[in-house]
Symmetry: C2
Subunit: 148 residues, 2 copies
DNA sequence: CGTATACTTCGCCACTTGGCGAACTATAGA
DNA sequence: TCTATAGTTCGCCAAGTGGCGAAGTATACG
C-alpha cells in the first residue's frame, strides 16, 4: 500500500502536477522547472524530491546542473500507468496549456541564461559550465525518454 | 486541473484506498464500510463524501441505509482509469487482502445485524427496515456495477 | 587554495487534514 | 405523534504539508 500511497500523495498537489507535465516531452534542468512554476528554488527542490521518491521522475546530475525526466520502461507498472493516466487527464487543461507555451519560450534560451536571470545578474557572454551537456540535450530535441 | 486534483487528493489517503477497494466487487452499505475500516461513523462518512465528490463512488439511499458503489460506464475516463489503476496497483497488497477476508466474514450477516453490533445492542429477531432492499442486494450476488 | 553558483536541506509559519464525539437529519415503526 | 436508529454535519485538536529564506553542499573556474 505504501508504494501506491507515495505515488498518489505525490500526484495530489497542483504544483507537482505542473512540474510533472512540464517533463512530458523530455528532460529539463532544475532552473527551468523553477522558472516554469515561478516558485522558490527550495520549494521546487522539495517537490522534485517527492516526485523522485514516488518514482515519477528520474534525475541525473551533470556538473552543477540537475536534469529531471520521466522514468523509462524499467519503472514499475504502477508508475507508468500513473503517468499515462495523468497526462491523458490533463491534455486539455488550460493551466498546462499555459505552462506548455511558457516552456516553449523558456527553451529558446539556455539553462544557464535562465539561472542568471534567477539570481538577477547580467548574463555573461562566455560559456557557462556544463554547456556541452546542455547543447547535447538541445540537439537531442526533447527526447521522449522511453515512455510507454 | 481541479477535477483531476479532486481525484488524486481522494486517492492520497490510506483509509480511502481501503474503502474504495472494499467496493471493488460490488455495493456495500455505510455500516459495512464502517465495520470494514473500524473507524468512527463520522470519519467514514467524511471519507465517503470526498470519494463521492471525486466521482470515485456513487451512492443511493434506501430507507435509512445508504449504499455505495463504484460508478458505472457513464463516469468520466479520468475516474474509470483511476479505479482501474488503483485496483491493479493493489491486487497483491497485504492490507487489502486482509480487508477482503474481513469483508467476506461481514457479508455473512446482514447490514442490519452489523448496525446493531455497532450500537452495541442485541439484535432483535424481527425484520428491520429496508430489509427487502438488502435481500435483493444479497440475491444480486455482489453486482459488478457496470465496470469497464 | 578561494569565490561563484546550482541546487538541497533546515527551520519556521500558516493552512489543511484525519480523527473523534456531540448534535443534527431523515426515515421506520409503535 | 413519539421513539429508535442509520448517516451526516459540526466543532475541535493533533499531525502533516506547502510555502519561504537562510544555511549548507558540491561543482566549476580563476
Amino acid at each position: 500500500m505504501r508504494p501506491l500511497l507515495t505515488v498518489t500523495n505525490a500526484l495530489a498537489d497542483r504544483t507537482r502536477l505542473r512540474l510533472l507535465m512540464g517533463l512530458r516531452e523530455g528532460e529539463l534542468c532544475a532552473c527551468q522547472l523553477i522558472e516554469l512554476v515561478g516558485l522558490a528554488p527550495s520549494t521546487v527542490s522539495k517537490h522534485m524530491f517527492l516526485l523522485r521518491q514516488a518514482g515519477l521522475v528520474e534525475s541525473r546530475k551533470i556538473g552543477r546542473w540537475v536534469y529531471y525526466r520521466w522514468p523509462g520502461r524499467a519503472a514499475p507498472l504502477r508508475v507508468r500507468h500513473a503517468l499515462k493516466w495523468v497526462a491523458e487527464s490533463l491534455t486539455d487543461d488550460p493551466q498546462i496549456a499555459k505552462d506548455t507555451k511558457h516552456l516553449a519560450r523558456l527553451l529558446k534560451s539556455t539553462p544557464e541564461t535562465l539561472c542568471r536571470k534567477q539570481t538577477r545578474k547580467p548574463v555573461s557572454s562566455s560559456s557557462a559550465p556544463a554547456t556541452r551537456a546542455a547543447a547535447r540535450w538541445r540537439r537531442a530535441g526533447r527526447v521522449t525518454s522511453g515512455r510507454t
